[in-house]
């Protein structure tokens, strides 16, 4: 087994990046423009200002994570986009509820 140690690496916090362009989003997620647009149509993600034309679209960084999760769910569980959108929304709700339960719990 080979082992390499690298120097200190620092990366950006994806969610804090508020200026992801449409092109960058396609590139980061390895998806075509059409695929990203159909995710927008299903409400999985939303541009910050949806009324602008696509080349001016900006996205918040968490869209990258959301799309990646959507792609994994779609691929691994063989579900269509509508089902993926539903699953993501339910997962969001579960996360919020779990968070609430956690903060209400007294140990």
């Amino acid at each position: 087994m080979k082992n390499e140690i690298t120097r200190l690496l620092s990366g950006a916090i994806v969610e804090e990046d508020s200026h992801v362009s449409f092109n960058q989003l396609c590139h980061c997620c390895s998806l075509s423009e059409e695929q990203i647009i159909s995710m927008i149509e299903h409400g999985i993600i939303e541009p910050l200002e949806p009324l602008l034309t696509t080349s001016y679209w900006q996205f918040s960084g968490d869209c990258i994570i959301r799309i990646q999760t959507a792609v994994r769910l779609q691929h691994d569980l063989e579900i269509n986009l509508a089902g993926t959108a539903l699953a993501l929304e339910l997962l969001d709700e579960i996360r919020n509820l779990r968070q609430q339960v956690k903060s209400l719990q007294r140990d």
Binding site: G11, I13, V14, S30, V71, R72, L73
Partner: protein, 318 residues
């Protein structure tokens, strides 16, 4: 090498039909999908199920596996496939290139049988171009690390194609900077640290999802941190200045007179640091001494006499 009972993993019998295998797989995949499941070992289970399905869904691979299984006795410690196990079988495997790294997620047992031929099941879409796959992993940090920033060594195992064409496991250790002010659940992207691309293609990115280790004193919600602070009955009644811990160090807190149990106080900006830092919340909890000596008891009785008219149950109508 350990023999893997793929039928057991899938919870089905050896006589299961292909349709039953598919059904079992779908059910388990939903149950253990790492994006869905909260179970701690979900990711390992999901990989195990994926590996089992990769073999059982393909009648040819299943036949090879079944033939081996017949030669394996329970209780046998190690497992080596018989030398001629692959005689007479021809595989039409998945891609030989970009997807190959995914076979790294499968066990040595799998690799010894099908390692060279298979494409991956794990890990998202097929890239249409030659950019390497993005990798994802979780990193656990302490709350204090989010306050001060930190660095972490992270050892990753990936598979690369060795000189002999078989995948070999390569481990590499990355030294990663955890930025100050990171929130639980956020992701750090390290560009070019994912799987290597093929030919002239760029490497994918590595995403590190940050999780906080549970803390004995504090609870965290976004950038806000909260503490349950035990106080004495007299501190609650008379007010006091007490020292409290925060992840950034000890601070003095003034408890106002007549603070009831459950009272919530806020130290603005003492949560996780950020452009707009989170807040630090304190919930007071009055703790009583276990035992009273005679003098303490008589003092409480005197207090009872003196404050006899106070009724905390007025609202309850009694």
């Amino acid at each position: 090498m350990e023999y893997k009972d793929y039928y057991k993993v899938m919870g089905i019998g050896k006589e299961a039909t292909q349709a039953e295998i598919k059904r079992a797989f779908r059910k388990l995949a939903r149950k253990y999908h790492p994006d869905v499941s909260k179970e701690k070992d979900a990711e390992d289970k999901f990989k195990e199920v994926g590996e089992a399905y990769e073999v059982l869904k393909d009648p040819k691979k299943r036949a090879v596996y079944d033939q081996l299984g017949a030669n394996w006795k329970s209780g046998q410690a190690g497992f080596e496939p018989p030398p001629d196990w692959d005689a007479g079988f021809e595989f039409h495997g998945g891609t030989q290139t970009g997807d190959q790294a995914n076979a790294a997620d499968f066990s040595d047992f799998f690799a010894s049988l099908f390692g060279q031929q298979t494409g991956g099941f794990q890990g998202s879409h097929q890239a249409r171009h030659t950019r390497g796959e993005d990798s994802h992993t979780k990193v656990f940090i302490d709350l204090e690390d989010a306050y001060h920033g930190a660095s972490r060594n992270l050892t990753l195992r990936t598979s690369v194609l060795g000189a002999d064409g078989r995948p070999e496991i390569k481990s590499r250790t990355l030294n990663i900077k955890i930025p100050k002010g990171i929130k639980e659940g956020q992701n750090i992207r390290l560009q070019g640290q994912g799987s290597p691309g093929t030919a002239e293609g760029k490497a994918g990115d590595l995403y590190l999802k940050i999780e906080f280790n549970p803390h004995p004193n504090y609870k965290v919600k976004g950038l806000d941190v909260s503490l349950e602070l035990p106080i004495t009955p007299w501190e609650a009644m008379l007010g006091a200045k007490v020292q409290i811990p925060t992840p950034a160090g000890k601070v003095d807190l003034t408890i106002p007179a007549a603070s009831s149990s459950g009272k919530r106080m806020r130290l603005k900006g003492r949560g996780i640091p950020a452009k707009i830092a989170g807040d630090f919340y304190i919930t007071l909890e009055i703790i009583l001494p276990d035992k009273l000596n005679e003098r303490e008891k008589s003092l409480y009785q005197a207090l009872q006499q003196e404050s006899g008219s106070f009724n905390p149950r007025v609202k309850l109508g009694v």
